[in-house]
């Protein structure tokens, strides 16, 4: 499938490499050219410097034929806006959004976004590990 990733931080770059290694076509968008260097010189996908909340930029990167869009910049609101553009204007079949704020995560899930909150997931993992250890000690 063809996946457009907005945000080339640690998560974006890693996701891009995973997808490319699995044989998918990937395009990565970031406002900073420095961030795109994370992908290394061997990266076979497309890269573009620009804003994912800009309709023209999205069009140029081929959002219209994308099977999926992932918004993983540091900014919750930027991710939310770009995802809504991808979903409602370009009708991308699968749109995933990273939202740190758990309350905003719930709100936009209710509005139909597939939202992932690293805050909620991270806390859950830590909690499970901590409480499991405790129960192991009790055993």
């Amino acid at each position: 499938m063809y996946v457009v990733i907005m945000g080339c931080g640690r998560v974006g770059a890693r996701l891009a490499k995973l997808l490319v290694n699995a044989g998918h076509e990937v395009a990565v968008l970031d406002a900073s050219s420095g961030a795109l260097e994370r992908l290394g010189t061997e990266f076979p996908g497309t890269t573009m410097v620009g804003s994912g909340t800009d309709v023209e930029t999205l069009r140029r990167i081929g959002i219209e034929r994308a099977d999926a869009f992932a918004a993983v910049t540091q900014g919750d609101n930027r991710n939310i806006m770009a995802s809504q553009i991808a979903k409602h204007i370009f009708n991308v079949p699968r749109v995933l959004t990273r939202i740190y704020d758990p309350i905003r995560t719930d709100t936009f899930k209710a509005l139909g976004l597939e939202a992932i909150s690293p805050t909620v997931i991270g806390a859950k993992v830590f909690y499970t590990m901590l409480t499991d250890e405790e129960s192991q000690e009790n055993v």
Binding site: T53, I80, R104
Partner: protein, 220 residues
């Protein structure tokens, strides 16, 4: 009315001051400590320090009983999310967003924001009104439709001068509602003959806007 203003920059500050003077209950939400202190000394205790895009801050501000939320920060994506959270989570009846990039106007409308204000668009339309040109100035778009009210001034030597309105070859779904001649509005009939210098206020669907422009500025 209880009005929440998100963003305490210049726009937010002067807006809040006017709204307070009109007797409204107003709360400004601003994240910068310095700005909060400045505004509090000017406006009194109507400023809450915090990020208006954090739902917990909106809850603290009593957003669930707000009549209007106006988002006027310098970032379009923040303004969009503030309005959406206010509307969906706190059931605020009316949300208004400032738009910095005019291209975002359509996106905001599509995503359910009640009204948008784009200072760039406003300045552009003023420039277009000041400079005689072949451009049609969009005045208002009717809410929840693609019907626009536009204004076009017939230039000197316009081939349409002397043409009766009924003979004008208008695109479908377009009407000339008012003709402004020498500052006086005329409600035209089919027999009204156009003159150079007339300002035509017309209604049209966005899809026919370009055809309408070509009709008004046809060259011979």
């Amino acid at each position: 009315m209880y009005i929440i203003v998100a963003g305490g920059g210049k726009v937010g500050f002067y807006l809040a001051r006017e709204l307070v003077a009109q007797g409204n209950e107003v709360l400004v939400i601003e994240k910068d400590r310095g700005r909060v202190a400045e505004m509090t000394s000017d406006l009194g205790s109507v400023v809450l320090r915090g990020n208006a895009d954090e739902a917990s801050v909106l809850a603290e501000a009593g957003t669930n009983r707000a009549d209007v939320v106006v988002a006027v920060t310098g970032d379009d994506e923040d303004n969009l999310v503030i309005c959406q959270v206010a509307k969906r989570r706190f059931n605020v009846p009316r949300t208004i967003a400032r738009i910095n990039n005019p291209a975002n106007e359509q996106i905001f409308r599509l995503l359910g924001i009640d009204a948008t204000v784009s200072s760039t668009e406003v300045i552009l339309s003023v420039i277009e009104q000041e400079i005689p040109s072949d451009s049609m100035v969009p005045l208002v778009r009717l809410r929840d439709s693609d019907v626009e009210i536009v204004e076009a001034t017939l230039p000197l030597g316009s081939p349409l001068a002397g043409t009766a309105l009924r003979d004008l070859d208008l695109p479908p779904e377009s009407i000339v509602a008012i003709v402004i001649r020498d500052g006086e509005p005329i409600f035209p009939g089919g027999g009204t003959a156009l003159q150079a210098g007339d300002a035509l206020i017309a209604l049209t669907r966005s899809t026919h806007e370009e055809e309408l422009r070509q009709t008004f500025f046809a060259r011979r």
